[in-house]
């Protein structure tokens, strides 16, 4: 989960003693912001959004003329940046910048270890820095990371500013400790600046990008509130879905993302879900939502996610699709959980009988489970076909497309 910059500064950078500019965050112009601006000779104002490349979108502005602060603040605090609405603005002291570095820590799958990535040429997008000028220090023993190791690394890459060797190595270790201690997947500072302060020089993090591990020992969604990885607020149904797995690790049914289409995807298993969605898109079906159900969830989890999936307005078809499960019980998930959701929705008058269904599933108790689901289809007047693993998994979405065209004159997307 990605944090807003002010969250990263307030909860992580402060704790791990990473030097940052003086700052104040606010959703709207208020006395705290005015008092802050009064004390500073100049300020930098940034829109608070999760999307990157704010500078290029004009969402970071330096304001030296104080009469302009109110106007710039109210613009940046409310504007949309690449389609994402700002939740407020961060106001920071304007630094007297001498140099800009790039610094990040993330996991390298090449080394299967945390990697500290550093360049003396920061300030621009990391993709734009010449790869030869980007250097990596792999933390191959996470039990001990000391500044001397970082100084050896910096000396080895020809880092020339000897006066900064000690302070920079200490900041880098603090940044690494912040990454490790906060259970991040990525901690990025671009730029990490060398700023003049009187006749002294100091190292300051002029930006803060933190992506926390969603599986961290403390769930970040509980600490910071759930948010969409798509840079938009979660829909009500997405929020409801997250709650399904909270406090109950028996199976997983709460991974749910909405898109703009009209085909509901009730898919099982990470790999099976991806392959099925991929083929559906290639076949020209417009996907309304994506799920990734697995690990043998109990019937009540299946009941809840089924109702969420089917409550999205504008659906035309439903694909229930998974491979041959090893562990997930088909009688429990489809025969009980899904079937009860359909029974209840029908009783409440919320079931759309025009939907076209294709079910393709196998695994433990599948004969019983598919029979139970068929009986449910019959008693609720649901139209569909039910297959086991005789039908190759990637042919299920293609079969759904054929049925949609035949029965409701569905017009698939033209796929190039």
């Amino acid at each position: 989960m990605k944090l807003y910059e002010h969250e990263a500064l307030g909860s992580i950078f402060k704790k791990y003693k990473i030097p940052v500019p003086r700052y104040v965050f606010s959703a709207e112009m208020n006395d705290a912001v005015r008092q802050f601006v009064d004390k500073e000779p100049g300020v930098v104002i940034k829109s608070m959004v999760l999307v990157g490349k704010r500078g290029k979108a004009g969402a970071v502005k330096v304001v030296s003329d104080k009469s302009q602060v109110e106007k710039v603040f109210s613009d940046l605090a409310t504007r949309e940046v690449y389609g994402e609405r700002s939740i407020g603005a961060l106001v920071e002291e304007k630094l007297d910048i001498e140099k800009e570095f790039y610094l990040s820590v993330t996991y390298s799958t090449k080394d299967r270890a945390p990697a500290i990535i550093f360049s003396e040429h920061g300030g621009m997008d990391v993709e734009e820095i010449d790869p030869k000028l980007i250097h990596t220090y792999v933390v191959s023993d996470v039990r001990s990371v000391y500044p001397y190791q970082i100084r050896q690394f910096l000396a080895g890459i020809g880092f020339s500013d000897k006066e900064l060797l000690r302070p920079l190595s200490e900041v880098i270790v603090n940044v690494y400790n912040a990454f490790w201690g906060s259970e991040s997947r990525l901690l990025e500072i671009n730029p990490l600046v060398v700023a003049r302060s009187g006749d002294k020089r100091k190292i300051v993090a002029a930006d803060a990008v933190v992506i926390l591990d969603d599986d961290a020992s403390v769930n970040p969604a509980v600490v910071y509130g759930a948010r969409s990885a798509q840079g938009r607020p979660l829909t009500q149904r997405e929020q409801d879905a997250i709650l399904i797995d909270q406090g109950d690790h028996r199976g997983k049914a709460g991974s749910y993302v909405e898109l703009d289409g009209d085909i509901a995807m009730m898919t099982f298993g990470g790999g099976g879900s991806t392959v099925t969605a991929e083929t559906a898109i290639e076949a020209g079906l417009r996907i309304a939502n994506l799920t990734d159900i697995g690990g043998n969830p109990p019937a009540e989890k299946m009941y809840r996610i089924s109702r969420i999936i089917l409550s999205k307005p504008g659906l035309k078809g439903v694909l229930v699709c998974g491979g041959t499960a090893s562990n997930t019980r088909i009688d429990v998930t489809l025969g009980e959980g899904l079937a009860k959701a359909l029974d209840d929705m029908n009783a409440e008058g919320k079931l759309d009988k025009n939907l076209v269904w294709v079910v393709r599933r196998s695994g433990p108790e599948y004969v019983k489970g598919l029979k139970m689901l068929h009986e449910c289809f019959v008693r609720n007047g649901i139209r569909g076909e039910i297959y086991d693993s005789q039908l190759p998994i990637t042919e299920a979405p293609i079969r759904l497309k054929e049925l949609l065209i035949k029965h409701i004159a569905y017009k698939p997307e033209e796929v190039v």
């Binding site: 599986d215 993302v257 898109i281 598919l370």
Partner: protein, 327 residues
């Protein structure tokens, strides 16, 4: 030795977190299908319990000292909640278990990293997290892979299936079985960002095994483990036929950071995209026996075109009828 280092005729399994819902079901099923392969279970506080068909101990230390089963234990199957996995791994390593499977999903990445570094220091083999286990039809299985009736998907043969996705491991073995190829070994390595056993690790282990006729690998976006296979092959480290399918091309049309599928399958910052992986493997295929399938079901054609001999007859039928239709 019959089998591989991951699962062979000497394998003796101890299940950690044995009395949990999933683990106890797996133990009971395993006892019916392959009696005796699981030797013991561990659940603190349940030592001496007779609720399982295998002896239950409070600690692994007691189990390895047990005169009856202690000497037979060499492989651990870990079924504890995510935050307890690191503890379980350390308990196994400190008690001399050298082959571990982590079945648990959602292990914190930081714990996975500590586990990986310990594994390297101690020279152990760890598969997972998020593994579904291993299947070697000529020997038996570890974990739930293949469910109650594994004969649906598995028959002895020459194909090695390696997949991040547990479900697709079985689905793929079944697809090949219907078309005439049996499985030598199917290993679900899990899709975690820090993977203790990668595709390349497996290929290096089995490269000298004459029973391996071909490899079917299922990849996903995220990380660089698929690319490492291309690098291994191009450096001459593996020369048997490899058919690969990389899922997730469609994610490239979605906004960056959309999590879908496994934890590792998050496309971030333009790295580890499905198309990157496909391009690297296709480049290897210009000089070596490597073929990338465009559609998942094309894996069968890929294995066929690489000249991997069938183990038995093709049993496919022309048109598949639904079990039920309500139209």
């Amino acid at each position: 030795m019959k089998g591989t280092v991951y699962l062979n005729d000497k394998t003796g399994i101890v299940v950690i977190g044995a009395t949990g819902r999933e683990a106890s079901q797996v133990i009971k099923e395993s006892e019916t299908l392959y009696p005796g392969i699981i030797k013991a279970g561990i659940t603190p506080g349940k030592g001496g319990s007779s609720e399982l068909p295998v002896p239950v101990f409070d600690t692994l230390k007691e189990a390895v000292k047990d005169p009856k089963v202690g000497k037979l234990l060499n492989t651990a199957l870990i079924y504890v909640p995510p935050v307890s996995v690191l503890d379980a791994v350390m308990e196994c390593l400190d008690n001399g278990i050298k082959v571990l499977y982590i079945i648990t999903e959602h292990v914190p990445i930081r714990d996975s990293e500590v586990i990986y570094q310990e594994k390297v220091r101690r020279g152990a083999i760890i598969v997972g997290g998020t593994s579904l286990g291993c299947f070697v039809p000529s020997v038996g299985r570890i974990g739930a892979i293949g469910g109650k009736d594994p004969t649906v998907a598995f028959r002895d043969g020459g194909i090695v299936v390696i997949s991040k996705s547990g479900g697709l491991t079985v689905t793929t073995a079944e697809m090949f079985k219907r078309r005439g190829w049996g499985t030598y070994m199917a290993l679900a390595i899990g899709g975690d960002i820090i993977s203790n056993t990668t595709y390349a690790d497996v290929l290096q282990e089995i490269k000298g095994d004459s029973r391996v006729k071909g490899v079917a690998m299922l990849g996903e976006p995220g990380g660089s483990y698929e690319e490492q296979v291309a690098d291994l092959i191009m450096s001459g480290g593996f020369d048997k036929p490899v058919a690969a399918f990389i899922s997730g091309r469609f994610q490239e049309r979605m906004p960056e950071g959309v999590a879908f599928g496994h934890a590792g399958a998050i496309v971030e910052r333009g790295m580890g995209k499905a198309t990157d992986k496909i391009a690297r493997l296709e480049a290897a295929g210009k000089k070596y026996p490597v073929k990338v399938a465009f559609y998942y079901h094309d894996l069968v054609k890929a294995i066929e075109s690489l000249g991997v001999p069938r183990d038995f007859e093709d049993s496919t039928t022309e048109h598949v009828k639904p079990l039920y239709s309500t139209f």
